[in-house]
């Protein structure tokens, strides 16, 4: 296997793909948002319950490739307890990692996605769940679609 491919399918990603965290619907959700990647048919729904301005609980479901499923799973573990502004900050960091391949300043599981940058077509897979979450936090009922985002 090439170095690029090994880098793309890191152990952390394979693990999240195989055993996704926080997968399923959330009956107590106060916000729901849906993301679509029309290019490949990947779908991701995010359910979250806000406590004040913080995410108290978050789950996701949908279908997609290992990258999209693992990214959504990991995302749920990273944003819990955060405010919308903090989630936006994390997303900006994540976006920088997947587009540049540069590791984050702080040690983080997000770094596992650095390998995505060598596969530009897969950046949308990695960011699908994040887009849905950002939309949910905005209270935007319109489905997120990767086609209306710059990445």
């Amino acid at each position: 296997m090439s170095a690029d491919l090994t880098e793309l399918y890191q152990q952390v990603i394979l693990d999240h793909n195989k055993r996704p965290r926080n997968r399923g619907k959330l009956p107590t959700a106060t916000r729901v948002a849906h993301g679509d990647n029309p290019t490949c048919g990947d779908q991701c729904s995010v359910y979250l319950r806000l406590d004040g301005d913080r995410i108290a609980e978050i789950t996701f479901d949908g279908s997609g490739c290992a990258i999209s499923q693992a990214a959504a799973s990991l995302m749920t573990t990273q944003v819990k307890g955060r405010t919308a502004a903090e989630v936006q900050g994390l997303y900006d960091e994540f976006h920088r990692i997947v587009t540049t391949g540069e590791a984050p300043e702080e040690i983080s599981d997000l770094a596992a996605f650095a390998g995505v940058h060598a596969f530009p077509a897969r950046i949308k897979c990695a960011t699908l769940g994040w887009h849905a979450t950002l939309n949910a936090l905005k209270g935007d009922a319109a489905p997120a679609t990767t086609e209306t985002h710059l990445d």
Binding site: S2, L5, C40, G41, C65, A66, I67, F119
Partner: protein, 410 residues
Amino acid sequence: MFSGRDLRSDFPVLHQQVNGKPLVYLDNAATAQKPRPVIDALIHFYERDNSNVHRGLHALSMRATQAYEGARTRVARFVNAADPAEIIFTRGTTESINLVARGLGGRLQAGDVILTTEMEHHSNLVPWQQLARATGATLRYVPVLGNDAEGGLDLAALDTLLTPQVKVFAFTHISNTLGTINPAAHLCARARAVGAVTVIDAAQSIGHGPFDVRDLGADFVAFSGHKMCGPTGIGVLYGRRSLLDALAPDETGGGMVVSVDYAGARWKPSPERFEAGTPNVADAIALGAACDYLDQVGRDAIARHDQALGKLAFEKLSALPGIRVLGPRGERSGLVSFAFADVHAHDVVTFADEDGIALRGGHHCNQPLMRKLGLASTTRASFYLYNTEEEIDQLVTSLRRILKFFGAGM
């Protein structure tokens, strides 16, 4: 009969390495590679004859016009049309279908039915949805049989679906997802019996075997040049002459009018009526060269070759663990779609690319059918005249490696 290996030297693009491995190009249902004579036709035109067609009185313009109209005649012969005027050059299948759909708009009204099938590519589905919306006509679908076991059309359902209210029956000749070969002649005959106009999406069939519009009894046929070894950006709408002359033009402007004054304009007959503006001269000429190439190889032989590869791939892939191979078990075209229980199509495609194998993963512009099959996406391997049995073995080896990596189905 030829062997795929013998033809590979005609296709320059095949002689390269991808990720350090010899390219195995199995994405022919998306677009086919181009043989040297097609590339040469493009070069020759731009180096020697480039000029605008029609109304030109100088040497280059006359040569270009002759070559362009020669290509029309060549394509007419390729599909056995009665008259070159029945061949309209378009950008591709999508534009061809849109041209018919919009042209028929004035003839449809509420209460009429547009019939299509559940296996259509979006390009033969969305234009009819739009037409139904615009005219108040109802859109109905011939069901696809079985879950995915059969993949054929429910022909018995035609008895109830094909009523005198059906004005248009649009269907694909070969499904780009299932690999089903539909009985086009039978479908045309059934439609004709109730007075419905037939529109065949021949994108997946035209370059893969003999095609005779008169044998099929087709009213309209749409196809693309790039899936039959021709260039991108050129396609064809075939229409029976009497129907074309009654079809409203879609685009208007220069080249398609007999006369214009400030009060209005009168249309030329087909094909000019449907080719407003400067046409895609070079690509039409190169499409003619593609027709020559395919006829030289032999279209019966191409059909046998491609279908044999499709059948072999179906059998070999079916033996893999945790796989679901779509479409008919028996006679099928040279393409195979499949899905693994535990590995997503996009991961499959990324890994296969690592082995130099070009596949396609996704919904194949077939979202309603995928939903019906309960799948979000599949991986598709599609074959053409330069593919070999060895390449299918390479595909299977690569897929086994992928399954192992993901710890799936082992």
